[in-house]
């Protein structure tokens, strides 16, 4: 079975792109399933099911969705095998831009949209910078120049990636992207695999449910902001 991780900021068009890609793959009789990771709620599983795509969802709840993803990714692969899928796609929302869901040796896709602003590529961490494929969406509603500028900003932070433009609504570019998905290696399981980059670090008192504000309640991995000039700033 081929395994592909798709991630990207919220509302960048991940689900629309995946649906279009699967449509193109199904025409070639390739069985594709999806595991959708989200935080609190998602209706995307209904959307996939409506297109007769085998789907499972995982809600991270109070945990970092990335940590939740990596703790469950092997089980997802097992599920994919049990469904006798040819390809399994994991979809995870990148919520804090420090997300790092990509795995060495697994085709990794980051979906990012033209409307997010040209400053966005450099604000996104490993999710974009270590991806093999960057899919840029919503190109049909911005100017050619803005598309070119945006793509060049993506190329600045990830010059090694294959960058593609896909229209999630009309499906333009999805067939082409599906050939890239199909070229992914066969993956039996993830034993011995590792993440491309460490995930966002945590483990402080707030991770464990602390709600009170104040130094005396802050324990564990705590980092303080450097504002500078606090004493001299008053006039």
């Amino acid at each position: 079975m081929k395994f592909i991780t798709v991630s990207g900021p919220p509302s960048s068009g991940k689900t629309a792109v995946i649906l279009q890609v699967i449509k193109a793959l199904q025409q070639r009789n390739i069985d594709v399933g999806v595991v959708k990771f989200d935080c609190l709620a998602t209706d995307d599983d209904v959307l996939y099911a409506r297109h007769d795509i085998p789907v499972r969802k995982g809600l991270a709840g109070p945990l970092c969705p990335d940590h939740y993803f990596v703790s469950n990714v092997e089980e997802c692969l097992e599920w994919g095998h049990s469904q006798q899928l040819d390809m399994l796609i994991s979809e995870s929302a990148g919520l804090c831009n420090r997300c790092s869901p990509h795995i060495e040796g697994i085709t990794s896709v980051c979906v990012i949209d033209n409307l997010s602003g040209i400053g966005t590529p450099k604000k996104i961490g490993p999710m974009l910078k270590t991806a093999d494929v960057v899919v840029i969406t919503k190109g049909d509603i911005v100017s050619q120049a803005e598309r070119e500028v945006f793509a060049s900003r993506v190329a600045q932070v990830n010059p090694s990636a294959l960058t593609m433009h896909v229209n999630g609504i009309t499906g333009q570019g999805a067939y082409e992207l599906s050939t890239v998905f199909f070229a992914a290696p066969e993956t039996a399981n993830l034993q011995g695999f590792s993440l491309r980059y460490s995930m966002p670090a945590a483990l402080c008192s707030y991770c464990l449910g602390e709600k009170r504000i104040g130094k005396e309640y802050q324990m564990g991995n705590v980092r303080k902001i450097q504002l500078g000039g606090v004493e001299g700033a008053k006039k």
Binding site: I141, V142, S143, E148, V149, Q156, P159, R196
Partner: protein, 332 residues
């Protein structure tokens, strides 16, 4: 630049040789123009926070740097001109073989007609992806009568098709001048100041109502936006093909815009059902059920009729102007 050189040359010298590198480092929060260390010394000197800001491991960063330099060098190397795009027939959605011969050359206008869903986007995607019998249509695209280099498919910097449609808007928070500059810089365009002025002047010659360099691009009217987009494509875009998807006849001199693109040696494809635009093309591709069904060459009689159509269009435009001026149309 040799790999060894890249990793052993002091960063200030590297940046002097390839100023584009400053953009690369800046996007990782690194200021290196005056740094006399080499890349490994820089990576070793970073604080934990700065390393975290890289968003990738030092090894991954070195690879990214190599690939970035390779990308810039390709861009500098050549502007290989496309002087012919040949489309070899494939099949329609029912598997029926297409029968046509088609070669697109710079300076040519070709219109594409057919109902929604007939396969216009697919044709365009075939060109953009330089299809090699590996798309649903089975078509093949030859560039300059040869099998194309894969860079046309995979490189961000070499895109065959620039697109313009009625649905496109500007979304950046920039003035017209800043916008043209940002675009030019992203393509490392030489003599940028001069180009900025050219784009601005051209855009104003196409727009019904003029606008200033200091106008915010998001505040431009539909016609002004379209005019700026076309002028920008004509002067700054390197894509040999321009696809125009149904532009409305308001606030922009469409014929002049097309002439401009033709002068700039672009291959212009127009998806349109507007009779004037369609007849401005030398040929019309008729698309249905996913295939090119017919290639109509604009006849002498049609060209003759175009003159009449343009007269009718002018009459309508005058009426439009009168409505704008608050006049009545009781007398035409």
């Amino acid at each position: 630049m040799k790999q060894a050189e890249l990793f052993t040359t002091p960063l200030n010298q590297l940046c002097a040789r390839m100023p584009e590198l400053m953009d690369f480092f800046a996007s990782f929060g690194l200021e290196v123009a005056r740094n006399e260390a080499d890349i490994d010394a820089l990576l070793a000197s970073l604080s934990a926070t700065q390393t975290e800001h890289l968003g990738m491991t030092p090894t991954q960063f070195r690879i990214a740097l190599q690939d970035y330099v390779a990308g810039v060098e390709v861009l500098d190397m050549e502007q290989d001109r496309v002087h012919s795009i040949r489309i070899l027939p494939g099949r329609d959605k029912s598997g029926q073989a297409e029968e046509f011969e088609l070669e697109l050359v710079p300076g040519q206008i070709v219109s594409i007609v057919g109902p929604t869903g007939s396969g216009k986007s697919r044709l365009l995607a075939d060109i953009e992806w330089v299809a090699q019998g590996d798309t649903p249509t089975g078509r093949r695209i030859l560039l300059n009568n040869a099998q194309p280099d894969t860079k046309w498919r995979f490189s961000t910097r070499h895109k065959l098709v620039a697109q313009l449609s009625q649905n496109m808007n500007f979304v950046m928070d920039l003035t017209v001048e800043e916008f043209i500059r940002v675009h030019g810089e992203s393509r490392f365009v030489p003599e940028l100041e001069q180009k900025i002025k050219q784009v601005l002047d051209l855009a104003n010659s196409l727009a019904g109502e003029p606008f200033a360099a200091t106008t915010q691009i998001t505040a431009l009217s539909g016609g002004q936006s379209r005019a700026l987009m076309i002028a920008d494509i004509a002067i700054l875009s390197q894509s040999p093909v321009v696809l125009i998807d149904e532009i409305e006849n308001a606030g922009i001199e469409r014929k002049k815009a097309l002439e401009l693109l033709v002068q700039k040696e672009k291959i212009v494809l127009i998806a349109t059902h507007d009779p004037i635009l369609a007849l401005l093309g030398e040929k019309r591709l008729v698309i249905s059920n996913g295939g090119i069904k017919k290639v109509i060459t604009t006849s002498a009689a049609e060209r003759e009729n175009l003159i009449e159509l343009e007269r009718m269009d002018r009459v309508l435009m005058q009426l439009r102007q009168r409505i704008r001026n608050g006049e009545t149309l009781e007398q035409l």
